[in-house]
Symmetry: C3
């Protein structure tokens, strides 16, 4: 028997909005420690990892580990029917091939339950080792989303370069080139407006912008985003979910053609 009661139901709505464009079908894994998901995007290039820790739920009962395959678009359709102030409870009986989402309005005057068929989803759980990164940038999530959107009106790829002074996002396309520099800045009124660069060594990596634009669907989950970069590792774009966990998006850098061409 599974019963997870989340008072701030809008979090789950936002989580689904953040990942449903990237991933079609996925297994949600439920254990005593939390509710999690790991899935490749449909083109098998990017990876999403979600964790909602059990402590973040008002009530969390998970008698045995289970993995529930769901179509994320259908799940998102159902969660859209929850009000933003609703309490959401996820329920599944042992051995059942369905999952139930229950929405309670704050006044308890309206109670909805939506039942969805589960499905079999092939997946292999990748171990993601903790790694040291050359550079970690923390910045306002809306700023990062704005930059990704702006640059994609000019080009298809973004070069992210980190130096001690800040982080530079660059692109080029048919109509010209663009560089956006965000300076390290910790002296702001609100901590979430800070741009903080932790750097061990300078790094400059190239990524496909369209994946970054998918990742920024996570913006409503957090005021800040953390971008972890290393030349040998996929970038990690992380949105913390207050008191509960995170969504992390992983994407391998592109091998830069310019580098190739400049070789003798």
């Amino acid at each position: 028997m599974l019963e997870l009661r989340l008072v701030q139901g809008s979090l789950l709505k936002k989580v689904l909005e953040a990942i449903k464009d990237l991933v079609n079908d996925a297994n949600f894994d439920c254990s005593a420690t939390g509710f999690s998901l790991q899935a490749m995007d449909s083109s098998h290039v990017a990876l999403v990892a979600l964790l909602l820790r059990s402590e973040g739920f008002e009530h969390y009962r998970c008698d045995r580990n289970i993995s529930m395959g769901m179509n994320l678009n259908n799940m998102a359709k159902m969660l859209k029917c929850a009000g933003n102030d609703d309490i959401i409870t996820i329920k599944a009986d042992d051995g059942s091939d369905t999952v139930t989402f229950m929405f309670e309005s704050p006044t308890q005057d309206k109670i909805s339950d939506f039942e969805m068929k589960l499905m079999n989803v092939d997946s292999e759980h990748l171990g993601i080792p903790e790694a040291e990164y050359h550079a970690i940038v923390r910045m306002p999530s809306t700023e990062f989303a704005r930059i990704c959107k702006d640059l994609s009106s000019i080009g298809d790829t973004v070069v992210i370069s980190v130096t001690k002074e800040g982080v530079k996002f660059s692109t080029s396309g048919d109509i010209g080139t663009a560089n956006v520099v965000c300076r390290q800045n910790t002296t702001v009124d609100k901590p979430e407006d800070a741009t903080i660069v932790e750097m061990n060594e300078p790094v400059s990596l190239t990524f496909a912008l369209r994946y970054f634009n998918s990742f920024t669907k996570g913006t409503p989950l957090s005021n800040t985003v953390t971008i972890s970069l290393s030349s040998e590792l996929p970038v990690v774009v992380e949105y913390k979910i207050a008191e509960m966990g995170y969504i992390r998006f992983y994407l391998a850098p592109k091998i830069e053609e310019d580098d190739e061409e400049s070789k003798p």
Copy 2:
């Protein structure tokens, strides 16, 4: 000669927005008692009845009963040109084949007149007898609209079941099933937030959701909606128009296939 002056012109704009998707052409009937309309939707399944009583107009002159055939889309186009605070006057000369809509801005600095050709519209006026209903539900109109919209993301039909405790809206479709229960609730801060169930006997009826979604275009006209249900009668979905009258939508229940199949 016809001259109807409506200070709260936005009401007429909202009336047209409420019915223009359902009905293409219709006769507006004007008599000493009021300005009214009765029309079937274009698929001849639902019926709309509108009444704006003469007392609700600042000035109401209707020398003799007339019936004016109008294309509601064209009429809506013209009314959209009225400002929300404009006074609207409907004018027609005796024997004229046109109707004029005059819009006066609150400051009288801008006066518009829009003249539209009338048309012949076949119609038979149905007598709608006053009836006793098994159950009458009054609830916030936005809540009802939200439920109809939410359920249509899951299924095509809605089962409305009324018991003493409240009203349940149910649907099912390819991706699963949904039930939304609204409890009777009269102890609210604002009377328009109440959900009130008057029930003589329990009733459970099935309707096509797409008509309900058309009916909810009436939501801007009133904070509350009244749904009157009886097993032998079309449902009535009514939006009151403050101080003036109402829009009522009628729709026959579907014969439930489940009932048929469960017969011996």
Copy 3:
């Protein structure tokens, strides 16, 4: 060397939004007195003239007169990447085939530079003589935009008639006719709400509405619009740009078919 620094960068964003639908490619002319543009629309019917005087820039360096051909859609794409509070600097080196737009956020924490290729644009600069107009109407720009939009839901052309009492906009189409009269009105709380008619002789002219709807893209630039009419001249629709200059749209009147037909 060219370097023009505009503290209120949003003005330049609005200028581009105002003209990009009408004109594809155009030469921006830069001289000691200001930054200007004159261009025909792509159907060679309407003319746009823009002037941003050098005094309106915080810093204005233009060593020699130059004319820079730009694709306005691409330029608008780049300017959309500037924040509304950003300072925008336009830069070009002598003999360079590119122009650079630099955007500085108010806090200086984010600096972007967008480089765009210049292009050769054929153009002939028309001398536009100062003229005496039969009538000049000044009215709220949002009101004028609303009227043009409203009338285009009814017809394709607008007849603008000016008398001492005010200005009348008329149209007719398949579904009927429309007249909107705005009365002269100078006794308003805010000067920008006034409708002021300066008239030497009555005038009544016909124009294609779709151009007027393009012109009203200038609405965000100014609270008021000035419409200058003469029977022998193109109409001038002018939006002042505070402290800096203007955008003027010119359009020749249509020869009214009614006039033609009424000839013996």
